[in-house]
Amino acid sequence: MATPTIPIPDHVEGAFDETQPPKFRGTYLEKVHGWVVTVDHKKIGLMYISYALIFLLVAGAEALAIRVQLARPENTAISPLVYNRIFTMHGTTMVFLVGMPILFGFGNYLIPLMIGARDMAFPRLNAFSFWISAFAGILLYYSFIGGLGLSGTGTAPDVGWFAYAPLTEKPFSPGHTVDYWAVSLLANGIGSIGTAINIIATIFSMRCKGMTLFRMPLLPWVYLTMSGLVLVAIGPLTAAQVMLLVDRYLGGHFFDTQMGGSSILWAHFFWIFGHPEVYILVLPAFAFANEIIPVFSRKAIFGYPAMVAATVGIGFISLGVWAHHMFTIGMTSFGNAFFTLSTMLVSIPTGIKTFNWLATLWGGKIRFTTAMLFSVGFLFQWLIAGLTGIMLSVSAWDWQLHNSYFVVAHFHYVLVGGILFMIFAAIYYWFPKMTGRMLNERLGKWHFWLMLVGFHLTFDLMHVPGVLGMPRQIYTYQADRGWTVWNEFISLGGFIQGAAVLVLVYNMVHSYFRGAVAGPDPWDGWTLEWSTASPPPDYNFAVEPVVASRRPLWDLKHPEDPDSAVE
């Protein structure tokens, strides 16, 4: 057993590395230049996160526009053409410009710190990946200006985020909006693949001394799986975009049904990407929960090996479930049964995770900080999202539920109730590490409760119109359908969530300048990122850490009961 020689947190007298680089006070331009040319994983991580948060506000505003239009039946606030652009951009933005970058941002920032490395394996690839993703986002939004095209159709793509063919083909979508969409996702995919390669290489080759794979915190494990999925899943999406562009510009007929092409082909390509994508997004949320819940329960994670196995298992199973998005497309009964079973199988590893989180809470001493509140919200909502997921996997029932508001409610439960709640938890938990300042807890509680009320008002009720026959992506509906009252409250909840996000924005800006100083280890944490200064110096660790267990800081703080003794 190696003796731990990591830098020791502040309350152990004199052992903490206080050396700070001299404060650099350059001009404004020099600072900006510094950010543009940086290859430091922390700065890139922060850029990813800020970029995603900006798009979160944009796509959130789009969501509110949708809710304004749907609040009344036969509403004419927004024309059908504009409405279709808005929901397409809302979905595309949230998945590709908010979800992926913010999760990559946290990964970039945290993985080297957690495994005791000084940077990612390929710092310049890292910068490249960020900038190409940033370019992709700007390109997508540039379509509002440039999408008009020669044929003079609308601006911005309006084909839905899964852009089913042949609606995307030239005869049905003239102009350039679909091209912007395709090229932007293509570019974004390059960035995602770059980062995924980087994460995998970093985890395999940059771990500090003593950190075997099975001593790694769960977060890097989850990111490893997620990156593997990115590598497998982005390929089909990119291929599909290229085929679409070939159809549109070089006379190909992959999806051009008028010339014998197949619309199902697109659906397969898209969902072979699209389903793993769901797990690409949700796995990091699990990763945050794996770090935050133990620290605030004051207990080690329950069943670490099972958690690792469940994570990797989810990764594998998620590659074989894509056609559950296509139960109504006319598959054979055997095909439907197969994808029902494979989809249901996902619930086994997911169930293991849920039980293990519960067991981690059990017997602990739970501290309800804002980060923990969001994590608890996540646990409840994830449970419900998982159960509605099981309902949707029942393909016969899905014949009714598919493409209805029930589905919209389900995946928002996953994306907002699960992922976004954990992203908020992660912001409260690691903001002190990233900026050296604590977020205000009082504002945090406001943020949490507003968000919780708004979320449940919107997304609990949203299941109902789905069951009452309301399809998704419709710009208006008839008053006689009995959907009105539900939609009114759904819209109301949307605005409450909007207010909650504004509280967070205010809290972040305010605390960045005025927040209480955090110190290196404000939460009494156990993983390596809490052993260095907040924010960490460029080189992360003055001395390269050596670890002897999964919770190196626990061992230091509790020499009488070290993990290294039981592992």
């Binding site: 279709n84 080690a300 009714q400």
Partner: protein, 378 residues
């Protein structure tokens, strides 16, 4: 007294559950099935709800208990005992879900095969449904009937079992046929034929709409299915089989070159189109059906619409042969009456902003005339 009240209570419960003509909450409630496929899905969904509901209540009770019981108390700074896992417990909560999933899967598989692979009885009615950007075309191949947006099918009672089997395809992009009280949805794909069926057991009108995003007016691609008694259905079919006549009753003229071609018109233009009919020409200002037909047949209307028996034989838009036998126009979005027809012809965008029928920019009088004509298409 007590027992009669109890009987009334049960009668109420049963009647609430029994097949109702008007379901609560919404005419498209999936929990109010009236046809076998929808019934099968409905009972399966109750089974799934029971299991998932059980999981939900068990787990959330445990979660709430843990959160309350194990909250940290002020002043207590000692760390709790560290527990790293337990193989037995973890095995248990792997095996229980496996069992639950097996049950769920078997229940689902039964319904999948029962609905999807149901044999087609001899008596079944066959209908071809074709999705178009923002409206539905229905063809009854055995009866030589074509209609739009409002599907008529016979009721399937125990006495006369007559399910409807639909063949679904699309003329342009993907659509999806969804009438929740009859069956789950099935997509309509260009270049491919899908199938579905239902056997509605209650006479009535069932609503639905397109459930796959198909372009700007996807939200106004509504669907109406009329379930008729067998007699009413037969009568409807017979009425739909009648045809109309050209303005001059000269069907045959279509195949013969026009003996008096008019400058500017192709030689095989039937006489009605050349404006050679003196009687009508004199009356061309009157707002009458014949005058309207004259205008209609002079306009591009006939390139997109069919009125069986006349020159109008376009297939791009809905068949208008029996337009007035329908309750609504433009895929269920407006009542089919004089005012709405006039509004529609004057500018379709008024009712359906991105519909694929262009505004024809005719004069107000011409629009009135055409409407007068359309009102005769029974």
């Amino acid at each position: 007294m007590r027992s009669s009240r109890r009987a009334a209570f049960w009668a109420f419960l049963l009647s609430a559950n029994a097949v109702r003509a008007e379901p609560i909450l919404s005419p498209t409630n999936i929990f109010a099935p009236v046809s076998t496929p929808a019934h099968e899905v409905h009972s399966l969904s109750l089974f799934v709800l029971t299991i998932t509901g059980g999981i939900f209540f068990t787990l959330s009770a445990l979660l709430i208990y843990a959160l309350v019981r194990f909250r940290s108390r002020p002043g207590d700074t000692a760390e709790p005992p560290q527990i790293f896992g337990s193989t037995q417990i973890e095995l248990a909560w792997t095996i229980i879900p496996v069992l639950l999933i097996t049950m769920l899967f078997l229940g689902t598989a039964r319904v999948i095969f029962a609905v999807e692979d149901a044999p087609k009885p001899k008596a079944a009615l066959e209908v071809v449904a074709i999705g178009h950007q923002f409206w539905w075309e229905f063809r009854y191949p055995h009866y030589n009937v074509v209609t739009a947006n409002e599907l008529h099918v016979p009721v399937s009672s125990a006495q006369s079992y007559r399910p409807t089997f639909l063949k679904l395809t699309s003329a342009d992009v993907m659509h999806s046929f969804w009438v929740p009280r009859l069956a789950g949805k099935t997509d309509l794909l260009p270049n491919r034929v899908n199938e579905m069926w239902f056997d509605p057991q209650v006479v009535g009108l069932y609503l639905g709409q397109c459930a796959q995003f198909c372009g700007p007016e996807h939200g106004k691609m509504l669907l109406r299915v009329y379930v008729d008694t067998p007699a009413a259905f037969d009568a409807w079919i017979r009425a739909q089989q009648t045809t109309h006549a050209d303005a001059k009753g000269a069907n045959a003229a279509l195949s013969v070159p026009n003996p008096n071609p008019v400058a500017g018109f192709p030689v095989n233009t039937p006489p009605t189109l050349g404006g050679t009919n003196g009687d009508l020409a004199n009356n061309s200002q009157a707002i009458t059906a014949p005058a309207g037909q004259q205008v209609f047949e002079h306009q591009a209307c006939i390139n997109c619409h069919t009125v069986a028996g006349t020159v109008a034989n376009g297939r791009y838009g809905p068949d208008l042969t029996h337009l007035m036998s329908r309750d609504t126009i433009a895929a269920g979005i407006a009542k089919n009456d004089h005012d709405h027809l006039l509004r529609w012809i004057t500018d379709p965008n008024d009712l359906k902003p991105a519909s694929l029928m262009p505004a024809m920019h005719l004069t107000d009088r011409q629009n009135e005339q055409i409407t007068a004509y359309l009102l005769t298409l029974r």
